[in-house]
């Protein structure tokens, strides 16, 4: 058994050290909000926070984050209250199919934590997640709205 710090708790798992964090979260810990989209760190659907930084969980072996603080989308709404990004996402009805949106929300939350008033260029640089429904316009609006909230 190995131990991870996920969403503020020490949790045990028995995955091999080279297993991507994504699959440990999904299959060992039941945290399916973190999505599989590409497996090669391209699409961002698996974005989590590792020590606060937006990180693509499909490209990180679980052994590399053994001593880090991992936060997944399930933990963003502290005590059931949506965070600023989630609230803006709901207010602006951002998601369509929604599959990429966990990753979008995680990336946007990390962006706002580092840069409370991002410009459009900041958003372009930070939000490299892929959305095939094409919610980009609403994603941009919602980040600006959250920054003002």
């Amino acid at each position: 058994m190995a131990v991870l710090n996920v969403n503020g708790k020490a949790v045990e798992h028995n995955a091999e050290p080279d297993t991507p964090l994504l699959w440990v979260l999904r299959e060992q810990l039941g945290l399916t909000g973190t999505k599989y989209g590409c497996g090669i760190s391209q699409c961002g659907a698996c974005t989590v926070h590792v020590d606060g930084a937006a990180t693509r969980a499909c490209g990180v072996p679980v052994s590399a984050v053994a001593d880090k603080k991992i936060v997944t989308v399930e933990a963003l709404a502290a005590n059931g209250t949506l965070n600023k990004i989630q609230a803006a996402w709901v207010a602006l009805d951002v998601p369509q199919c929604g599959y990429c949106q966990s990753g979008m929300v995680m990336a946007a939350t990390a962006l706002l934590a580092a840069n409370p008033k991002p410009t459009d260029a900041d958003i372009d640089a930070a939000m490299t997640n892929i959305c095939r429904c094409g919610t980009y316009q609403q994603v941009r609006e919602a980040i600006h709205a959250a920054a003002k909230a």
Binding site: A15, E16, T19, P20, W23, R26, E27, Q28, G30, L31, T32, G33, T34, K35, Y36, G37, C38, G39, I40, Q42, C43, A45, T72, V73, E74, L76, A77, L82, Q86, W89, V90, D93, V94, P95, Q96, C97, G98, Y99, C100, Q101, S102, V105, I123, D124, A125, M127, T128, N129, I130, C131, R132, C133, G134, T135, Y136, Q137, Q138, V139, R140
Partner: protein, 722 residues
């Protein structure tokens, strides 16, 4: 024209016959979240509406939600006629098995072709209206007053100073005979439909709670990873299971359908690791010699072939062009595209000797059910499909190949639930791709610059020949002519050209072709609308003015609306140019104006797109706006990057690193203009995709003088002087 995505009519009749009798006796209606006891206590008012004692309204939605907002729109239509409190509305899916058992009371489950609302608005509204009348009748009976003296608003029935909520009379109402006829509201009086209401399915999508097929889990479930022959149509020759059977977590290694190997393990990661290590030999035969150049040559030959299926003809196009003062000719192409849903294909299946169940995202529940029956060998009455939300559909999940595979694996391990997952690489290489086509367009202008004749020869692949050959009409694929059709409410050609010939030389490579959001409207609009700009230039006229000479009124109106809103013809910032395009598709009239610039180094920037839509009736303007802005991401991703190519018979692209798509930094601002005429029902999920590329390409020409006729744009050098 209606496109059936999968379940053929013949299949359905056979299926329906198979379920007559026993199954319906055991049928009961499942409810969302109140537990089984309560579920059986609450009786539906009809197939569409269940009202609970606490006034909660459950609306049943047969179409699949894949992001397009159909479930919210359909609920709005039912709720409008029901006159219930929108804040108390929730929804559920009936299963395809229940639909068959109840003589298809929910009608068509198939979700594609932007048909959800435009095709089912009448009967879902009737369901809401009938339920309302029953609720009023029950209240009137309780009060012993005529129903005609009662009024209703937001789920409260009123007679003079007496009030009853829907929940209070729902049980009594459910015992009543439904009215024979109901009068639907005039859309002018709508209070719930027609309004920019929020979606019903948002919150769980931002908290990670939403369960997609990929997330579905069951006690004792195992995971299957699959690899089919990399050459579509090839066969499995051999595999060496012994090499991987001892790897961690591996439970079983099997072959299915003679063309794929599957590893079943305790986790996906274990299954995928063993699959990657599994020695496999394929028999690809002559298909292994097919190269993209060969496919291109096959299509090029079709451009001038003698035989072709005629899709639209008026007068004598060849004669008119031969006698014209000026002849213009151009050849365009549109490569294979992949849907790339964010959620790769997957399905969970459980098979026992007398039951087969499937949990999955599907655009066609009834086709998935038929696939489960066929793959399991069980009668359809012993199968069911439980639909989950889709992590993207775009036409891909109208096909049930992944359902079939999951059931075949589950059948190897009776009683064990099997979740079969395609890797992104498997998904990318085993799609049914947007068909490849080319078009040669030839136009004739008279001395005054009038278009006297137009010929369009399409050469390329047929979707129906690939997926639904039984739907070909004397060998012809009518869907090839989407946007070019002579008549009809679906996808009619908008120009009045006195001499016209549009035909199709069908050329079908071995790559499976399929429905891809927007389908054949997409490339047909590129061909037509880019060539209209070429003709306008040859005639020495402005592209808008030239189009207006030939466009029929509804097509012209929507183009004018887009151009007016965009300020077409007025000064733009230095270096910015407008390109325009219009088309009719999926019952709606759409047009777009793209504002673009191209730097001297050849860097394209799409600043803004103004898109007008006349969908007839508007059910939720906020959701239409989102469909329209999203549609440009789909259309522009294809225009900028989309290209699937074939090498040695196999698809070369394997993931987002070799099949790029648009990201937020390339997203133009999209302004949606709604110009509804309230006299028909059109779809909104697809049509504007088609104007994305031609509007941008026409803008690029103005900016650079380069006519881009070969997509994607990433292969073109827009640099000055290049």
């Amino acid at each position: 024209m209606t496109i059936q995505t999968s379940l053929g009519r013949r299949n359905f009749l056979v299926s329906a016959a198979a379920v007559t009798g026993g199954f319906s006796l055991g049928f009961h209606v499942p409810f969302l979240d109140d537990g089984v006891a309560n579920a059986q206590a609450v009786k539906e008012l009809n197939a569409w509406v269940v009202v609970h004692p606490d006034d909660k309204v459950v609306i049943r939605v047969a179409r699949s939600e894949m992001g397009q907002g159909t479930l919210t729109g359909l609920c709005q239509l039912v709720a409008e006629e029901l006159d219930c409190d929108w804040n108390k509305v929730t929804w559920e899916y009936p299963t395809p098995g229940e639909n068959l058992a109840r003589n298809r009371v929910w009608k068509n489950f198939s979700t594609g072709g932007s048909r959800g609302i435009r095709e089912s608005n009448q009967y879902v509204r009737e369901g809401g209206a009938m339920a309302r009348e029953m609720l009023i009748a029950a209240a009137a009976a309780q009060w012993k007053v005529p129903a005609s003296e009662c009024s209703v608003s937001a789920g409260v029935i009123t007679h003079k100073d007496q009030k009853l909520t829907y929940g209070a009379v729902a049980a009594a109402a459910a015992q009543l005979e439904p009215p024979k006829e109901v009068k639907l509201k005039d859309p002018k009086d709508w209070k719930i439909a027609g309004k920019p209401l929020k979606r019903l399915d948002t919150v769980d999508k931002v908290t990670g709670k939403q369960i997609y097929g990929m997330d579905y889990t069951m006690p004792g479930m195992l995971i299957a990873a699959v690899r089919a022959c990399p050459v579509i149509g090839g066969k499995l020759k051999s595999f060496d299971a012994a090499k991987v059977e001892k790897m961690p977590g591996v439970k079983k290694v099997v072959a299915i359908d003679g063309n794929a190997v599957v590893v079943v393990a305790d986790t996906y990661w274990h299954a995928q690791a063993a699959l990657a290590a599994l020695p496999t030999e394929w028999d690809v035969g002559k298909l292994g010699e097919v190269q993209q150049d060969g496919i291109n040559a096959m299509l090029k030959e079709g451009l001038d072939a003698n035989e072709a299926f005629v899709g639209n003809k008026a007068g004598d196009a060849k004669g008119a062009i031969a006698g014209a003062a000026k002849k213009i000719e151009a050849v365009y192409n549109f490569p294979y595209q992949h849907h790339v849903t964010m959620e790769p294909m997957n399905a969970t299946a459980r098979y026992t000797a007398d039951k087969c169940e499937v949990w999955c995202g599907t655009q066609n529940g009834e086709a998935a059910l038929a696939a489960a029956s066929e793959a399991s060998g069980l009668p359809i009455a012993k199968c069911d499909v439980y639909k989950l939300l889709l992590g993207g559909g775009f036409g891909r999940r109208g096909r049930s190949d992944y359902v079939r595979q999951a059931v075949l694996v589950a059948k190897e391990m009776p009683g064990t639930p099997i979740k079969l997952i395609w890797s992104r690489e498997e998904d990318m290489t085993h799609c049914q791709y947007h068909p490849i086509t080319m078009a040669k367009l030839t136009g004739g202008l008279d001395a005054q610059g009038n278009l006297v004749g137009l010929q369009i020869r399409i050469s390329g692949q047929s979707i129906l020949a690939s997926l639904l050959p039984q739907n070909l009409v004397n060998g012809m694929d009518p869907a090839t002519f989407q946007g070019f059709m002579p008549t009809g409410a679906e996808a009619t050609y908008g120009y009045d050209v006195p001499n016209l010939l549009i035909d199709h030389a069908m050329r079908n490579p071995h790559i499976t072709a399929g429905f891809w959001r927007g389908v054949n409207v997409n490339q047909n609009a590129i061909y037509m609308e880019c060539f209209m700009d070429e003709l306008a230039e040859a005639a020495g006229q402005d592209p808008l003015a030239f189009r207006m000479k030939y466009l029929k009124p509804k097509w012209a109106a929507v183009l004018k609306a887009a151009c007016d809103k965009a300020g077409y013809g007025k000064p733009l910032p230095a270096g910015h140019f407008h390109g325009i395009a219009q088309v009719m598709g999926y019952g709606s009239y759409v047009a777009g104006v793209a504002e673009v610039s191209v730097s001297p180094q050849g860097v394209l920037k799409i600043h803004k797109i103004t898109a007008a839509t006349n969908p007839g009736h508007v059910v939720n303007p906020a959701q239409i706006e989102r469909q329209v802005s999203g549609s440009f991401v789909y259309g522009l991703s294809a225009a900028l990057y989309g290209e699937i190519t074939v090498k040695d018979g196999a698809v070369e692209q394997t993931n987002f690193d070799s099949y790029n798509v648009m990201r937020i930094d390339e997203m133009p601002q999209v302004e949606t203009v709604l110009v509804p005429t309230h006299d028909f029902w059109g779809g909104v999920g697809e049509p504007t995709i088609a104007v994305a590329a031609p509007a941008v390409l026409n803008g690029i020409y103005k900016a650079t003088g380069k006519r881009v006729r070969n997509l994607p744009l990433m292969n073109q050098d827009l640099k000055k002087g290049a």
